[in-house]
C-alpha cells in the first residue's frame, strides 16, 4: 500500500493542478457539419444507393424499391397512355421526395461514419513515423526507424524524444507529455516496475531517460489496433441494434400488409360508389393509384429510425471516442448503459491518493504546537509529500518556519526502520514514524511508551487516518494524523450514479474498519476491504450471479482477472498492457472517474435509439389523418371530415406527408449524432419525461409539420 | 414418449366427452326437471288445456284489436321460433328504412287519428325476431286503438296493460316493458269474462 502511494505521489508534479475539480462533462465538442465530414458524406450518400449496399438497411431498401417502381410508373405514363386522374408532375414530385428520403437516410449514416473516421484519424495523426534508438543484445545503440521495431525490442528514449512504440518501461523513470493522445498538456510520470509503467507510442519524453521494451509491431501498436477496432466497430452492429433492425423490418412487413390490401379495398369502394351514383364511366380514387400507395407505405414504415439507426450507434462510439475512451466494440458502449454496479479503486479515484497531515495530537507535557514543531523539524528535509504536508500544516497554523542547524543529519525513511527524522549535532534525535517502529526506537533509547498512546493511535486508525508517532529522544511527544483526503465533488458524483440506479463499490487495501469510515464519508454504497485480486474477482462473480452487470476500472496487472470478468472494464491507458488487454475499453486520459461518463454515454445511446423509434412510430398517426381522406377523396368525399388538418387538396396532402417524412430525417440528424440529453433521473421519471417528449410529441408534431408544408406548397403555387 | 402423450391425449378426450357430454348435462337436466319443470320445458302457456305459446317467445299480431309486437325478420314468416334471426340490416340500409316506413304507415292506417311519434321499438326488428316485449310507451301508443276497436274503456285496457308490465329489476336493471302475448291473452280473457 505504501509503495503505491509513494509512487503515485511522485507523479503529482506541481503543474498537475490536481486540486481543481474537472467539469462533469469532459467530452470535446465537435461542430456537427464541417466541410471535411459533410462533403464526403454527401458523396457517400449517393454511393450507398447501390442496391447491394442499400439492402443492409431493410427499411430504406423498401423505400428505394418504391422510388424505383414510381420511376417506372412515370416512364410508363410518359410514353404510354396516361390513365390517371392526377397530373404527371405530382408523380414526379412524389418520386423526387422518395429518392430524397433514401438519400437523407444514407447521408445520416455517412455523416456519422465520416465523423467517426475523422475522430479516429485525429488519433492516428499522433502515430507518425519516428526515430528509434534500439538497444542491441550487447547494449549497443542503433538508430533505426520506428517502423522496424518488433515486439521485444528495447529502445532508449531520453528527454526531447518521442517514444517510438507502445511498450513498458523496464528501467528508469520519466515525465511524459501525453497530450498527443489525451489532449491533456500536463505531463505525467511513468516508472519502471510500477503499475504505471506503460507508455504509448507517439508520446513525448520531457525529462529523464528510460528504457522501453516494445510490446507491439509496427501498425500493430495498441493504438493502431484500437483505431482499427473503432473503424471496424463503426460497421458492426451490436446485438441490441440487430434486434431493433429486426423489429423495424417486421414493422415494415406489417405496413406492407396494411397497404397492399388497400388497393382491392379502394377498388371495392370505387365499384359500389359507381353503382350508388349511377354513373357509367369509371370512378377512380388515389386508393388504387400505385405511386400514391407507395407514398403511403413509405410514410408508414419506420423510415425515421430506419434512417438514423446506424448513425445513432456510430455516434455513440464516436462520443466515447471524443471522451477519449476507446471502446473495443459498440456492444461495450451499449453495455455500459446497463451497468448495475461500479467498482472503483479508493486510492486515486475516490481519494486524492496521498496522505496529508491534518492535525497534531500532543501527549503528556507537550502542547500541540510542540508536537508540530518537532514534526516539522523531523520532516524538514523530507521530500515525500507526507513530509511536506507536515511542514505545510505546521506553517499554516501560524508558526515561523523551522530552521535546522548546519550539521544536522537527516535520517531518511527506510523499509527496515519505517521511521524518518533528524539528528542534531548536539545529539538530540527526533523521529516520526509508524507507532510500533517509534515505540521500538523509544525502548532502544531507554524511554518508556506512555499507556495513553495506544488509544490515541487506535482512535486515529479507526477513522481511516494514518497515525505517525513523534518522539524526541526517549520520549513520546505526540502524534501526527495523516489523512487521505476525498477528491472534491466525488460525493455528488456518487449521488448522480445512485440516481441513475447504479451502486458504487469502493475497492481498498485498508482494513474493514478504515474502509467503512471512508466509504461512509465518500457516500459509496459498499466496499471491498483488504482487497486482493481474488476477492475482487469473487465480488464481481457474486454480483453477476445475482444477474447484475458490473463495471470496473483498473490499471494494474493484478486487476486483469477482475477486468476480464467484469462486464464493462475500463483500463487506464497508463496502466499495464495486461490490464488494457483484459479490458473492453481504454481511457486515454487514465482518469479513474471516467466510468461515469462511459455509463452515461451508453445510456444516452440507448435512450436516443428508443426515443427516435418511439417518435418514428408515433409520427404515423398524423400521416394517416392526412393520407386516408386523400386516398378516398375520389370515392368517399365525406371522409374529408377526418382531415383535421384541413389540407388543401388530396395531392397536396399526400405530398405534404411524404415531404414531412423525408425532411424529418435531416432534421433529426443532430439528435441522432449528439444523442438525446440524458438526465440522471430514476427510470420512472426518465421514462415519463421521454414518453412525453418523444411519444406525445411524436404524435403531435407531424400534425403541425404537415399542415405547415401544405400551406407553404400552396403559398408557393407549387400545387393547384 | 410421443406414444405416451398420444395415450394421455386420447384418454383425456374420452374422459372429457363422458364428463362434459354425459355427466354434466344429465346433472343439469336433473335439477331442471325436478326444481324448474315448467321453465325447463320452455315456459309454455297453457290456456284451457291448449298450449298457446311461450312466456318468453313473442307472437305476430296484426289485427287492430290486439297490441302489436315488434317487427320480426324471421323467415319464412314473422315470429318463427324455429329460426330466430334479426334483420341484419345496417341502420342506413334502404330496406330497413322501408320496413320502418311501412310500419309507421300501417300503424297510422289502423289508428288514423293518432299522429304522435311512433315509439322506435314498434318500427324496428328485435335481435332474435322473437322479442315477446314492447316498451311501455309502445303499448300506450297502441292503447287508444285497441280500446276503440274492442269497444273497451281505456282505463280497463290500461289496467290490463299495467298487469302485464314488467318493471326494472331492483328498479335499475332492464327497461319497463309489456309482454305482448300475455297482454293480448288478458284482453281476450277480459272479453270472455265480460260477456
Amino acid at each position: 500500500m505504501s509503495t503505491t502511494a509513494m509512487v503515485e505521489e511522485t507523479q503529482q508534479k506541481p503543474g498537475m493542478k490536481r486540486e481543481k475539480p474537472k467539469p462533469p462533462k469532459r467530452v470535446k465538442r465537435m461542430a456537427l457539419f464541417t466541410k471535411e465530414t459533410t462533403l464526403p458524406a454527401i458523396k457517400q450518400a449517393f454511393a450507398m444507393l447501390r442496391p447491394d449496399i442499400q439492402w443492409k438497411n431493410p427499411v430504406m431498401f423498401v423505400v428505394e424499391v418504391g422510388a424505383f417502381l414510381t420511376l417506372l410508373y412515370i416512364l410508363k405514363a410518359l410514353f404510354g397512355a396516361p390513365e390517371s386522374l392526377v397530373s404527371i408532375s405530382y408523380f414526379i414530385a412524389l418520386d423526387v421526395w422518395l429518392w430524397l428520403t433514401v438519400v437523407f437516410a444514407n447521408f445520416a449514416t455517412a455523416l456519422a461514419e465520416a465523423r467517426g473516421k475523422a475522430q479516429a484519424e485525429s488519433l492516428r495523426r499522433s502515430r507518425r513515423e519516428t526515430r528509434a534508438l534500439r538497444l542491441g543484445p550487447d547494449e549497443t545503440i542503433e538508430d533505426i526507424s520506428s517502423t522496424l521495431l518488433r515486439p521485444g525490442d528495447r529502445v532508449v528514449v531520453s528527454a526531447g524524444f518521442t517514444i517510438p512504440g507502445d511498450g513498458e518501461i523496464i528501467s528508469g523513470i520519466a515525465s511524459i507529455d501525453e497530450s498527443a493522445i489525451t489532449g491533456e498538456s500536463a505531463p505525467v510520470i511513468r516508472e519502471a516496475g510500477s503499475d504505471r509503467s506503460g507508455v504509448t507510442g507517439g508520446t513525448f519524453v520531457l525529462s529523464d531517460r528510460i528504457v522501453v521494451r516494445i510490446t507491439s509491431g509496427p501498425g500493430d501498436s495498441f493504438l493502431d489496433r484500437m483505431i482499427g477496432l473503432v473503424e471496424g466497430a463503426i460497421r458492426q452492429r451490436s446485438p441490441n441494434e440487430i434486434a431493433l433492425t429486426l423489429a423495424l423490418s417486421a414493422m415494415t412487413l406489417i405496413f406492407l400488409i396494411v397497404v397492399i390490401p388497400l388497393w382491392p379495398m379502394a377498388w371495392n369502394a370505387e365499384q359500389y360508389m359507381m353503382g350508388y351514383l349511377g354513373i357509367q364511366e369509371p370512378l377512380k380514387s388515389l386508393g388504387t393509384d400505385i405511386p400514391t400507395l407507395i407514398a403511403l407505405l413509405v410514410c408508414l414504415i419506420p423510415t425515421t429510425i430506419g434512417a438514423l439507426l446506424a448513425a445513432i450507434g456510430i455516434a455513440g462510439m464516436e462520443r466515447a471516442l471524443r471522451a477519449n475512451i476507446i471502446a473495443k466494440s459498440g456492444k461495450a458502449v451499449e453495455m455500459a448503459g446497463d451497468i448495475d454496479v461500479v467498482l472503483l479503486d479508493k486510492t486515486g479515484t475516490i481519494t486524492m491518493g496521498h496522505r496529508h497531515a491534518t492535525s497534531f495530537l500532543p501527549l503528556g507535557k507537550y502542547k500541540a504546537n510542540d508536537v508540530g514543531q518537532l514534526a516539522a523539524l523531523a520532516s524538514a528535509a523530507d521530500e515525500t509529500p507526507e513530509g511536506k504536508s507536515i511542514v505545510k500544516l505546521y506553517e499554516s497554523l501560524g508558526n515561523v518556519p523551522v530552521t535546522t542547524p548546519q550539521q544536522s543529519q537527516f535520517v531518511p525513511f527506510s523499509a527496515q526502520t519505517r521511521m524518518s527524522g533528524i539528528d542534531f549535532p548536539n545529539g538530540r534525535r527526533i523521529r516520526k514514524g509508524a507507532p510500533d517502529a517509534v515505540a521500538r526506537f523509544i525502548q532502544e533509547s531507554g524511554g518508556r511508551v506512555p499507556d495513553n498512546l495506544r488509544p490515541l493511535v487506535d482512535g486515529a486508525a479507526s477513522k481511516g487516518a494514518t497515525p505517525l508517532v513523534v518522539a524526541e529522544d526517549g520520549q513520546v511527544a505526540g502524534m501526527i494524523v495523516l489523512e487521505d483526503i476525498l477528491k472534491p465533488g466525488m460525493k455528488e458524483r456518487f449521488a448522480r450514479l445512485r440516481k441513475m440506479g447504479l451502486r458504487t463499490v469502493m475497492i481498498t487495501g485498508d482494513n474493514p474498519l478504515t474502509a467503512s469510515t471512508i466509504a461512509a464519508e465518500a457516500g459509496v454504497d459498499d466496499f471491498i476491504a483488504e482487497a486482493t485480486p481474488e476477492n475482487k474477482l469473487e465480488y464481481i462473480r457474486k454480483e453477476q450471479a445475482e444477474g447484475k452487470l458490473v463495471a470496473m476500472m483498473g490499471d494494474g496487472t493484478n486487476d486483469a482477472p477482475a477486468l476480464a470478468q467484469a462486464d464493462v472494464a475500463l483500463a487506464m491507458n497508463a496502466g499495464t498492457q495486461a490490464a488494457k488487454e483484459a479490458a473492453n475499453m481504454v481511457d486515454l486520459d487514465s482518469d479513474p472517474t471516467k466510468l461515469i461518463e462511459t455509463v452515461e454515454i451508453g445510456k444516452q445511446l440507448l435512450i436516443t435509439r428508443g426515443a427516435l423509434t418511439t417518435f418514428s412510430i408515433a409520427n404515423d398517426v398524423a400521416k394517416y389523418f392526412a393520407i386516408i381522406p386523400a386516398l378516398f377523396a375520389g370515392t368517399l368525399p365525406w371522409l374529408k371530415l377526418m382531415d383535421i388538418m384541413n389540407l388543401h387538396s388530396p395531392t397536396s396532402a399526400i405530398l405534404s406527408a411524404i415531404i414531412f417524412n423525408a425532411l424529418i430525417i435531416p432534421a433529426l440528424i443532430p439528435v441522432a449524432l449528439k444523442g438525446v440529453a440524458y438526465k440522471p433521473l430514476g427510470a420512472d421519471a426518465l421514462l415519463r419525461r421521454n414518453l412525453l417528449i418523444w411519444g406525445a410529441g411524436g404524435v403531435i408534431l407531424p400534425f403541425v409539420g404537415i399542415k405547415l408544408i401544405d400551406v407553404v406548397l400552396v403559398g408557393l403555387h407549387l400545387l393547384s | 414418449m410421443l406414444l405416451h402423450q398420444l395415450r394421455s391425449g386420447f384418454l383425456l378426450l374420452l374422459l372429457f366427452t363422458f364428463l362434459t357430454g354425459v355427466l354434466y348435462p344429465l346433472a343439469v337436466t336433473g335439477i331442471a326437471q325436478l326444481v324448474f319443470p315448467a321453465k325447463a320445458n320452455g315456459s309454455l302457456i297453457t290456456m284451457s288445456g291448449k298450449v298457446v305459446g311461450s312466456d318468453l317467445i313473442g307472437q305476430q299480431f296484426s289485427a287492430p284489436g290486439y297490441f302489436w309486437s315488434r317487427l320480426s325478420s324471421t323467415a319464412p314468416g314473422a315470429y318463427n321460433a324455429g329460426a330466430s334471426t334479426g334483420s341484419n340490416l345496417g341502420p342506413l340500409n334502404p330496406a330497413l328504412l322501408d320496413a320502418a316506413q311501412k310500419r309507421v304507415q300501417a300503424l297510422r292506417e289502423a289508428d288514423p287519428g293518432n299522429q304522435r311519434p311512433v315509439p322506435a321499438d314498434l318500427v324496428t326488428s328485435s335481435g332474435s325476431g322473437l322479442d315477446p316485449h314492447i316498451s311501455v310507451a309502445a303499448a300506450l301508443y297502441q292503447l287508444p286503438r285497441v280500446a276503440r276497436v274492442r269497444g273497451m274503456r281505456t282505463d280497463d285496457v290500461r289496467a290490463l296493460l299495467e298487469e302485464s308490465t314488467e318493471g326494472r329489476f331492483a328498479g335499475i336493471l332492464g327497461e319497463p316493458r309489456v309482454n305482448v302475448l300475455r297482454l293480448n291473452l288478458a284482453l281476450d280473457a277480459h272479453k270472455e269474462g265480460g260477456r
Partner: protein, 600 residues
C-alpha cells in the same frame, strides 16, 4: 335515463373486478397443483400425467390434443343424421361448413356458418358444441399457464394433460353448474326434447315451433369459456338463451369472469401482482372505453337513418376522365320518420335487457373474444360498430381465456422493447433482457392478426366472393367482410350476420355455392390465428425465461407503475390505429359520414 343507461356497464365492471380478485387466488392455487383433489378425481389426474414436459413437449401435446379435438368434432358433425336425439331428422351440414365449424369450435372461435336451432341435433349440440366449449376454452388457459411457468425460469413447464384436467374439472364444470342453475331459475329450457308446437293466438292455424333443448347446460360454458356459439341462431338475444335482465347480467359477467381472473392469476403465479394489476387496469380502461363508445353512439344516439338528414351536401370529386376535372356529387336532404327514438337505436335489440344492454354486451363480447351476442351487431349505428371492431383488432382487452393475456404480453414485450429503451438500458421484462429472438417471436405472433384480417378482406373485397356476398352493399357491406375476418382472426365468433344469412352461407345443408370460399378462408384464418399466437409466445417465454434474471433497480424500467400503464396503453393504441385505421375509415366511418340511405 342516466342511471338506466350507465348502471349496467358500471355494475358489470365493478362486480366482475370485485369477484376476480379473490377468485384468481383460487385459480392460481389450482394451477400450482396445491389443490388436493378427492381421491377418485386424483386417480384420473395421475393416470393422465405423462410426466413433466419442456415447452416443446407441452406445445406438441397441446397441438396433438387439438388435432384430436378437430377430428372428433368433424366426426360428430358428419355422423349427425345417423345419431340419436334427432327426432326431426336434421341432415348433415355442407362439407365445407363442417370443416369451418369443426375448426371454429376447436379454436374457441365459435363463428357459426349455420344456425344451431335449425341445423344441429341435440346430439351434436352436446357432443360437438358442449364438449368443444369446455375443452377449447381450457387450451388457451393451459397455454398461459405454460408461459407463466416458463417466465418463472422453469425448464419443465408442467404437464398439459394434467393442466387441462385441472382447468376443466376443478374450474369450468363446477362454475358452469352454478351458473346453469341461475339460468334455469331465470327460465332457460333444459330438456332432451326438441321442440313444442303451439297454435298462435291471433291465427290458430299458424303453428309456432318452439325449439327447446339442453340450453341451460350449454349456456354457462358458452359464456364462461368465452366460446359464444349459441344454441340458437340468434345466440344470447334469443329469449330462451337469455330470458331476463338478470340472466343478461349474469351472462355478461360470466364471460368477463375468467379473462379478468387470468390476468390476476398471471400476477399471482409470477409473484408480481402489482404488475398484473397495472395490466389489468389498462385492460379495464380500454374495456370501459369501448363500452362508453358503443353505448354513447348507439344507446344515447338515435338511428340516423330514421332521423334523416335535414341538410343537403355537395362534394366535388376529381373526375377520372380528365386530370384536374371535377365532378359534383350531391347528397340530398332526407326527411326523418315520425319515430320517437329516445331509447336509442333499437334495431336488433331486445326490450327485456334494458336500453344500454345491447351496446354494452357488444363491446364486452368482443373485448373478451366471447362472440356471443345479445343484439344484432350488424344493425348497430355505424360509428358505434367501431367499438366491437376495435375490440377484435386489439385482441387484448382481457381477450379470450389465456390467449388475451398472451396477446397482451406481446404488446408488453414490443412496448418495452421500443419505448423501454428510453430509460437508458437494454430493454428487460421480468428482469430478463429482451433479445432479437424474443422480439422476432413476439412480432411473428403479432403479425398474424393483421395479415389474417386485412389479407382475406382485400381478397374478398375485390372478387365476386365478397362483392356478391354482402347484404348491405357499400361501406356497410365492406364492414361485414372486415368484421367476418376480424372475428375469425380474433377467435371471437360474433358476426355481422347479414353476411352469412342473406348470402346463404348458413343455408345448410345446401348453402349457396359461394359459401365454400368463405368457409375455407375463415376456417384457415381461425386456425392460423389461434395457434401461431400460442406457439410463438410459448417459445418466446421459454427463451426469455432461460435468461439470467437481473434484479430490479432504480435504473430499471418499473413494470408496475402508472407510467408503465401509459406506455402500454400508448403502444396498443398506436399499433392498433396504424394497422386498422384504413379499414375503419372505409367501413364504419365512411358509412357514418355518408349519405342516407346508403347502400342497397
Amino acid at each position: 335515463m342516466f342511471l338506466s343507461t350507465w348502471f349496467l356497464p358500471v355494475a358489470l365492471l365493478a362486480t366482475t373486478t370485485f369477484i376476480a380478485f379473490p377468485l384468481s387466488k383460487y385459480l392460481a392455487w389450482i394451477m400450482e397443483g396445491k389443490f388436493k383433489a378427492p381421491r377418485f378425481l386424483g386417480w384420473f389426474e395421475e393416470k393422465l400425467d405423462s410426466g413433466p414436459q419442456d415447452w416443446k413437449e407441452y406445445t406438441a401435446a397441446l397441438l396433438i390434443f387439438c388435432t384430436a379435438l378437430f377430428a372428433f368434432g368433424f366426426l360428430v358433425l358428419v355422423l349427425q343424421p345417423w345419431m340419436p336425439m334427432n327426432p326431426d331428422g336434421k341432415w348433415m351440414l355442407a362439407p365445407s361448413t363442417i370443416f369451418h365449424s369443426a375448426i371454429s369450435f376447436m379454436t374457441n372461435t365459435n363463428l357459426q356458418h349455420y344456425s344451431g336451432d335449425q341445423h344441429l341435433s341435440n346430439f351434436s349440440q352436446i357432443f360437438f358444441i358442449l364438449t368443444n366449449m369446455f375443452l377449447s376454452a381450457a387450451v388457451g388457459f393451459c397455454a398461459l399457464t405454460a408461459i407463466i411457468r416458463a417466465f418463472r425460469g422453469e425448464k419443465l413447464v408442467g404437464n398439459f394433460f394434467v393442466d387441462m384436467w385441472r382447468v376443466v374439472v376443478y374450474m369450468f364444470v363446477p362454475a358452469s353448474f352454478i351458473i346453469g342453475v341461475i339460468f334455469l331459475q331465470q327460465g332457460a329450457p333444459m330438456t332432451f326434447d326438441t321442440f313444442a308446437r303451439v297454435s298462435t293466438l291471433e291465427s290458430p292455424s299458424t303453428q309456432q315451433t318452439i325449439v327447446v333443448g339442453p340450453v341451460a347446460a350449454v349456456e354457462p360454458i358458452k359464456m364462461l369459456g368465452t366460446n359464444g356459439g349459441g344454441f340458437y341462431g340468434m345466440n344470447s338475444a334469443h329469449p330462451f338463451e337469455n330470458p331476463t335482465g338478470i340472466s343478461n347480467f349474469v351472462n355478461t359477467m360470466a364471460m368477463m369472469l375468467f379473462p379478468f381472473m387470468l390476468v390476476l392469476m398471471y400476477g399471482r403465479m409470477l409473484g408480481r401482482l402489482r404488475h398484473a394489476v397495472v395490466i389489468f387496469s389498462v385492460m379495464l380502461l380500454m374495456m370501459a372505453g369501448t363500452i362508453v363508445w358503443s353505448v354513447y353512439f348507439d344507446t344515447l344516439k338515435p338511428n340516423p337513418g330514421l332521423t334523416g338528414d335535414s341538410v343537403a351536401r355537395t362534394y366535388e370529386i376529381p373526375s377520372a376522365s380528365a386530370p384536374g376535372g371535377k365532378r359534383t356529387v350531391t347528397v340530398p336532404a332526407v326527411g326523418g320518420l315520425p319515430v320517437d327514438q329516445h331509447l336509442g337505436n333499437l334495431e336488433g335489440k331486445e326490450m327485456r335487457f334494458g336500453t344500454s344492454a345491447g351496446a354494452t354486451y357488444a363491446a364486452v363480447t368482443v373485448d373478451v373474444t366471447c362472440g356471443a351476442v345479445n343484439s344484432e351487431h350488424d344493425s348497430l349505428n355505424p360509428i358505434a360498430a367501431i367499438s366491437p371492431m376495435v375490440g377484435m383488432w386489439l385482441n387484448c382487452i382481457f381477450g379470450g381465456k389465456g390467449v388475451g393475456m398472451i396477446n397482451m404480453l406481446l404488446y408488453v414485450i414490443i412496448g418495452i422493447f421500443v419505448a423501454g429503451m428510453m430509460v437508458g438500458r437494454t430493454p428487460e421484462y421480468l428482469g430478463r433482457k429482451i433479445g432479437a429472438r424474443e422480439v422476432k417471436l413476439a412480432l411473428i405472433a403479432l403479425l398474424v392478426h393483421p395479415i389474417m384480417i386485412l389479407g382475406p378482406t382485400g381478397l374478398f373485397a375485390a372478387t365476386d366472393w365478397g362483392l356478391k356476398a354482402v347484404s348491405n352493399p357499400g361501406p356497410h357491406g365492406f364492414s361485414q367482410m372486415v368484421y367476418q375476418f376480424s372475428s375469425a382472426s380474433a377467435n371471437n365468433g360474433s358476426a355481422f350476420d347479414g353476411l352469412g344469412v342473406t348470402y346463404g352461407l348458413a343455408n345448410n345443408p345446401a348453402p349457396a355455392p359461394e359459401a365454400v370460399p368463405w368457409d375455407i378462408a375463415a376456417g384457415l384464418v381461425m386456425l392460423f390465428s389461434r395457434f401461431l399466437p400460442i406457439v410463438a409466445p410459448i417459445a418466446m417465454a421459454a427463451y426469455l425465461g432461460a435468461k439470467k434474471r437481473a434484479p430490479q433497480g432504480l435504473g430499471t424500467l418499473r413494470d408496475d407503475t402508472a407510467t408503465f400503464a401509459l406506455l402500454l396503453l400508448g403502444t396498443i393504441l398506436i399499433i392498433g390505429a396504424l394497422l386498422f385505421l384504413p379499414v375503419a375509415a372505409l367501413g364504419p366511418l365512411a358509412e357514418h359520414l355518408g349519405p342516407i340511405p346508403f347502400g342497397g
